[in-house]
């Protein structure tokens, strides 16, 4: 008998650790959900796999979307870190870009992750054109490094002004630091990001150093835990850009895991949608306090060049662009001082959570509105501690806080909460679609996580989306994403010269060289690829502008030319802004190279329901649901028992263990060949 060969995706969340297992030999998949182990997540991780896999030697690859880095940043639980920098500039990290957290009200504060005494200066200076004005004194660097280590710093970041233009001084300094530093946690700013803009480069590099001890030790434990069970394969880590990297790269560049977990979810959504024939989707992840949206156009998730994890905590590496708004199940509905209804941003979260959880909150939330209107089954609660949700308490809260003051019925007020929450979510969807020039009629909403599927019907109506696509297992989407993610490395280098002054052939050759180098690195990870792609881009602008346009570049066999670059820029600029600005010189700010190793595709047909039943046989009852101003008798169905092709007209409720799907009146849901539910306006 052939032995199984498992590829396993693991997503560790705050509450549950989700495991997705693919047996490449048989093509079979299975999933597991086990409680996360706080403190040492690697325990739950190994146990989760152990609950389904007998022999760890049968596992070829484990791919992991981790929130260890994200949480360490948000909770400020990184290592004590030192910074060695150019004389005169130790406060760059704390001074930021001279901003403030909120436009109105001057009551913000900021505490940098590295305290002022741990930021030390050495004499050295490079000018903007790359000239070394003053060489670095390595003896001084060593002395400073030793002092930092002795004072208790566990990690250190070396950052010199204008290092993007010439990192000679920085390199010498980094070598000197590494020669005396007691561990491997030494970050060089230009190794992380050789790009102009000192605060963004320093912030990214500092956060890398700050995360390194935390993420490295977690990954070490994970490796040991798996090895102890007989695992001998590869461990890959999902990066914020949606690609995976080797575990060794992750230990060196932990800042690239800042959005590892959410990125995995978007990758899975992309793969599921592509298999189902949907090229354009908007992923919607609704949690207790927030609603996260990402746009996937032509099967590519949009990437943001820079993300602020929190005020002043800027990470400038490509990350899946996730737009977050404060509208979740726990978002509180209230009246403002002018008597206007508002939902969020204040949230009851999951503890105490909605009123119906009975944990002490008495202000109505979005979930309470869903309960009152019959969309959530009070006898099958997904959160909270009650066996049955307290519908009456939810009604009372909506009545006293909203319905009575507004002169509405309880149902009307509850529906108003949903309409307003939907409007906010629709606004977020518009922000990532219409405002970026995409036509929503070409997009489908894909909800994942627990709450999204209650709202997608309303969202497609409100924004004018073509349809909604609800994956078969919305709850394990991120773990699935790990298994299907490609391997990806991004490189950037600042050029900052006028196009007319650039030797285009030389620039092209350099980009090819960096591309080759990166490809070698990719291949050294020992992972099998279906093929390897390269994406080459220039960040360009007209002389005098400060915001750049991404210009896709093809380097022909005959080499790159200025005319080729000019044409590519004009195409990109016209697309972004409409009008070209003739006669103004162009500048090349950076080049960017992404090398992507495409992993073999998972056949999504493995999710197709086996022995499915027609809709009528899956109907388990009816429930009264309030929608569009009236009560309806809606059919309730067991979602996972539905056969391919089963069709259900709204209003209807489809239930499964980790989510409830509401098909609004006027919409029709059909099970496709992959087990997804496609919801569209009825004919």
């Amino acid at each position: 008998m052939t032995r199984p060969a498992y590829v396993i995706g693991v997503d560790v969340g705050g509450t549950f650790t989700d495991v997705f297992i693919l047996d490449e030999t048989s093509g079979q998949v299975s999933t597991a959900k086990v409680p996360s182990t706080r403190g040492d997540q690697s325990k739950g991780f190994v146990e989760g796999i152990g609950s389904r896999v007998e022999n760890f030697a049968d596992i070829s690859t484990v791919v992991h979307g981790t929130t260890v880095g994200t949480n360490a940043l948000l909770e400020r639980k990184g290592a004590r870190t030192g910074i060695i920098t150019t004389e005169g500039f130790r406060d760059v990290l704390e001074m930021r870009r001279r901003d403030r957290p909120t436009t109105w009200g001057l009551k913000g504060s900021f505490t940098p992750v590295v305290e002022r005494p741990d930021r030390v200066e050495v004499s050295e200076r490079v000018l903007a054109d790359g000239t070394v004005l003053e060489p670095v004194d390595v003896a001084e660097v060593k002395a400073q490094a030793k002092a930092l280590a002795e004072s208790g710093c566990e990690a250190v970041c070396v950052f010199f002004i204008n290092g993007y233009a010439n990192n000679e001084n920085e390199k010498h300094a980094v070598e000197a630091v590494r020669s005396v530093w007691p561990n491997a946690y030494v970050t060089a700013a230009t190794e992380i990001l050789p790009e102009i803009r000192e605060f963004e480069r320093l912030s990214t590099a500092t956060l890398n150093a700050y995360l390194q001890p935390v993420v490295s030790s977690y990954l070490d434990k994970l490796e040991k835990g798996l090895e102890a069970k007989g695992f001998g394969g590869d461990i890959l880590i999902v990066q914020s850009n949606g690609g995976v990297m080797s575990i060794d790269m992750a230990k060196r560049y932990p800042v690239r895991t800042a959005l590892s977990g959410p990125a995995a979810g978007v990758i899975a959504a992309t793969a599921i949608a592509k298999a189902a024939g949907f090229d354009n989707i908007i992923t919607c992840d609704m949690g207790g306090t927030s609603f996260d949206v990402s746009l996937v156009a032509d099967n590519e998730a949009a990437l943001a060049a820079q993300t602020a994890i929190d005020f002043g905590m800027v990470v400038r590496t490509p990350m899946i662009e996730i737009t977050t708004i404060g509208a979740g199940g726990g978002s509180i509905a209230s009246l403002d001082t002018g008597g206007l209804l508002q939902v969020g941003p204040e949230s009851a979260g999951s503890d105490p959570g909605p009123v119906c959880y009975g944990l002490g909150n008495d202000r109505p939330t979005v979930t309470d509105a869903n309960v009152v209107l019959g969309r959530i089954n009070p006898d099958r609660p997904i959160g909270g501690k009650l066996a049955r949700l307290d519908v009456e308490a939810a009604r009372r809260a909506i009545d006293s806080h909203l319905a009575t003051p507004l002169g509405l019925s309880i149902e009307q007020a509850a529906e108003a909460i949903l309409q307003l929450a939907n409007a906010k979510m629709a606004g977020a969807i518009r922000l990532v679609s219409i405002e970026k020039g995409h036509d929503p009629a070409k997009f489908s909403a894909m909800p994942f996580g627990g709450g999204g599927a209650l709202h997608t019907g309303a969202l497609i109506k409100e924004v004018g989306l073509a349809s909604a696509l609800v994956p078969r297992f919305p709850g394990v989407t991120s773990a699935l994403g790990c298994v299907v993610a490609d391997m990806r490395h991004d490189r950037v280098q600042t050029v900052n010269r006028l196009l007319d002054q650039i030797d285009a052939a030389e620039l092209g050759a350099e980009m090819e060289r960096i591309g080759d180098e990166t490809e070698t690195l990719l291949e050294s990870a020992g992972v099998a690829f279906a093929r390897i792609d390269r994406v080459m881009e220039l960040d360009m602008l007209y002389l005098g502008q400060t915001h750049t346009v991404n210009v896709a570049i093809d380097i022909p066999d005959t080499g790159l030319t200025r005319q080729g670059i000019r044409d590519a820029f004009e195409t990109a600029y016209r697309e972004a802004y409409g009008r070209l600005l003739d006669g103004i010189p162009m500048r090349v700010m950076n080049y960017r190279i992404a090398v992507i190793g495409r992993r073999p595709k998972l056949d999504m047909a493995v999710f197709a329901p086996v022995d499915g039943k027609p809709a009528g046989d899956c109907r388990i009852g009816t429930r009264k649901v309030f929608a569009d101003g009236a009560w309806h008798e809606a059919g309730v169905y067991e979602r996972l028992q539905l056969a391919v092709g089963a069709t259900i007209s709204g209003p209807a409720l489809l239930e499964q263990a980790d989510t409830t799907i509401f098909v609004d009146p006027g919409l029709v849901a059909v099970v496709d060949g992959f087990g997804n539910l496609v919801i569209k306006p009825g004919a």
Binding site: S109, N496, I584
Partner: protein, 578 residues
């Protein structure tokens, strides 16, 4: 027709989104960093009849929220004399006496027509890089008439019934030192208005004109209601606050800004009658600008009041004609930012007396517009122009923010690497300024030190700053932040400007340096109330230096850096008894 509360809330969000999208369009496509990086621009939707602000973008410059209504009113009045506005018109102007602020701010106003009638106006304002005048970048501290500050364009048509008037652009371009930048910014503003019109029409098609109009009226009424509710929470009576500008750049005499704030039930009077008369130099402001600055101050204090005209309905302004706060042409107004920062400071100081829980101490209070200009070896002209940061005031819940942006703006500072790459300068220091935050139970945020060395053969230096003579006050017993200082080197040694923080066109040569040290914010509450551990921490972090722990805070720190509790108790008791 009554409008249901749900539609109202939804339309509010949709309208705000249109204004936000116009902001984003200009920020992305603008040429000059003052718009692209510092977001010195704004967009909104205005009433068809009165020009009142209906909705304003959230990401634009705060001071423009409120002042833009005056710009739209100016266009409505001008157009009325010429037979009204027409579909496809776009008006452009920068007359500060009609539309507020200063000559650098160019406003474009476009009517949105529905069925042959104006439904509303859209407007865009942006700070252009150079609009002529005596000083590159237009911060001329020696101006005595607006003609020395730049070109003054009254409301004229940039588009006439849809037809683009290149002659207007030619006039504007030939009056700027940086015509390409001007052209790029102008294009960005046109893009923003066109996008706004498209979105507005789509919204009106979806919801119907009447419903949207009702909703706009209702939002204004509710804003007034909210503001009245906020005012009602304040105790009735009168409080006063005064603060001073160092000088007007021409005569070295302080200028007074005095506020008598009268609370009467749910109404408020802001009486500035005791303020100085109009001055010779460029720190005068128009009445429109004064009102807009008060709006900014109130919105910082009350937070959730919306950005529309209703907010000012329960507020009465008393501002004398031809005073510093209500000037007419051709009095110079180029340095308006300094005066409005001081206006915000007096509002903060007055409110702190009656509502300390809402109050913030004064922020650093000067934008420090610094320009360095010269020619490169190849004869090409360069102008480096930037604003610099300082500390925010402390408040009842914590210390002030270090190195923040001015209350009137959300501007970020350009990266020094970008400045060094673009101009022949080298920064030798870019750091926090110890001891610059006002002492208090909560300490003011720290200002900054910026030191710049010239790398080209020579350059002219211009600075327009304030707070060189009157430091940012604390509130509720807190101390003041440090004064603004500026030093420049010349062959004969180091100098300070005769007008404290204002200087026009001094020459410096290669290798010579400028050093700007900006104020911190004021403190909140008495410094002896500050937790001694916080003082020890400030000392350890170098936010304050050793000589200030005892003198300012009455805290005795031992040789190991920890608080000597007994000695601190004694010292505080002794000092308090005196």
């Amino acid at each position: 027709m009554t409008i249901d509360p749900v539609t109202l809330a939804i339309l509010k969000g949709r309208l705000e989104q249109i204004a936000d999208e116009m902001d984003a369009t200009l920020f992305r496509s603008a040429f000059n960093p003052i718009i692209a990086e510092a977001h010195d621009a704004s967009h909104g939707i205005y009433d068809a009849k009165t020009g009142d602000t209906l909705v304003q973008g959230k990401s634009g410059l705060p001071i423009f929220v409120g002042v833009m209504a005056f710009a739209v009113k100016a266009v409505i009045e001008k157009a009325a004399k010429q037979g009204g506005v027409h579909e496809g018109d776009v008006w452009i102007f920068n007359d500060p006496y009609d539309g507020g602020t200063h000559l650098s701010d160019f406003r474009l106003v476009k009517p949105v027509f529905r069925d042959g009638e104006v439904f509303c106006y859209l407007a865009s304002v942006g700070h252009w890089h150079d609009v002529g005048g005596n000083v590159p970048g237009n911060y001329n501290p020696a101006a005595t008439e607006c003609f020395q500050e730049g070109m003054l364009i009254p409301p004229v048509k940039l588009y006439d019934r849809g037809e683009f008037r290149q002659d207007i652009v030619d006039i504007l371009s030939s009056n700027s030192r940086l015509p390409l930048s001007l052209y790029g910014d102008l294009n960005g503003q046109i893009n923003a208005l066109q996008l706004g019109e498209k979105r507005m029409n789509a919204l009106l098609d979806e919801y119907g004109d009447a419903r949207v109009a009702d909703c706009m009226g209702e939002l204004t009424a509710r804003a007034a209601q909210m503001m009245r509710a906020q005012i009602s929470n304040l105790p009735s009576g009168t409080v006063s606050a005064e603060d001073f500008l160092d000088n007007d750049g021409i005569n070295d005499e302080p200028l007074k800004i005095a506020l008598d704030l009268i609370i009467d039930g749910d109404r408020m009077v802001m009486d500035f009658s005791r303020s100085s008369p109009a001055c010779a130099g460029p720190v005068n402001i128009s009445r429109a600008t004064t009102i807009a600055a008060c709006y900014v101050a109130l919105k910082h204090i009350f937070g959730d009041v919306p950005a529309n005209a209703g907010v000012l309905e329960p507020v009465e302004f008393r501002i004398d004609e031809d005073s510093l706060l209500s000037v007419r042409a051709p009095k110079p107004v180029g340095g308006y930012t300094e005066t409005i920062l001081r206006l915000i400071d007096v509002v903060f100081q007055a409110v702190a007396q009656i509502a300390p829980e809402l109050a913030m101490a004064c922020a650093y209070g000067t934008i420090n517009a610094l320009s360095l200009a010269g020619h490169r070896g190849n004869g090409q002209r360069w102008v480096m122009f930037s604003f610099f940061g300082g500390g925010h005031g402390a408040h009842g819940a914590g210390d002030g923010l270090n190195h923040g942006n001015a209350p009137i703006s959300t501007a970020t500072i350009p990266p020094l690497e970008i400045l060094e790459a673009a101009y022949p300068v080298r920064f030798t220091q870019w750091a926090l300024r110890p001891d610059s935050g006002g002492a208090g139970e909560f300490r003011g945020g720290l200002g900054a030190v910026y030191e710049i060395e010239l790398l080209e053969k020579q350059a002219d230096v211009f600075l327009f700053g304030e707070r060189g003579r009157f430091a940012p006050p604390g509130v509720v017993g807190g101390g003041a932040g440090a004064l603004n200082t500026f030093h420049y080197q010349q062959a004969d040694g180091e100098h300070v400007p005769p007008m404290a923080s204002k200087i026009v066109g001094v020459h410096i040569d290669r290798g010579q340096k400028l050093r700007l040290e900006t104020p911190g914010g004021g403190g909140y509450g008495h410094a002896f109330e500050r937790n001694p551990e916080s003082v020890a921490r400030d000392l350890r972090l170098g936010y304050i230096t050793a000589e200030h722990t005892e003198a300012d805070y009455g805290v005795v720190i031992g040789p190991d850096g920890s608080v000597d509790d007994a000695a601190t108790r004694d010292l505080r008791a002794r000092e308090t008894a005196q």
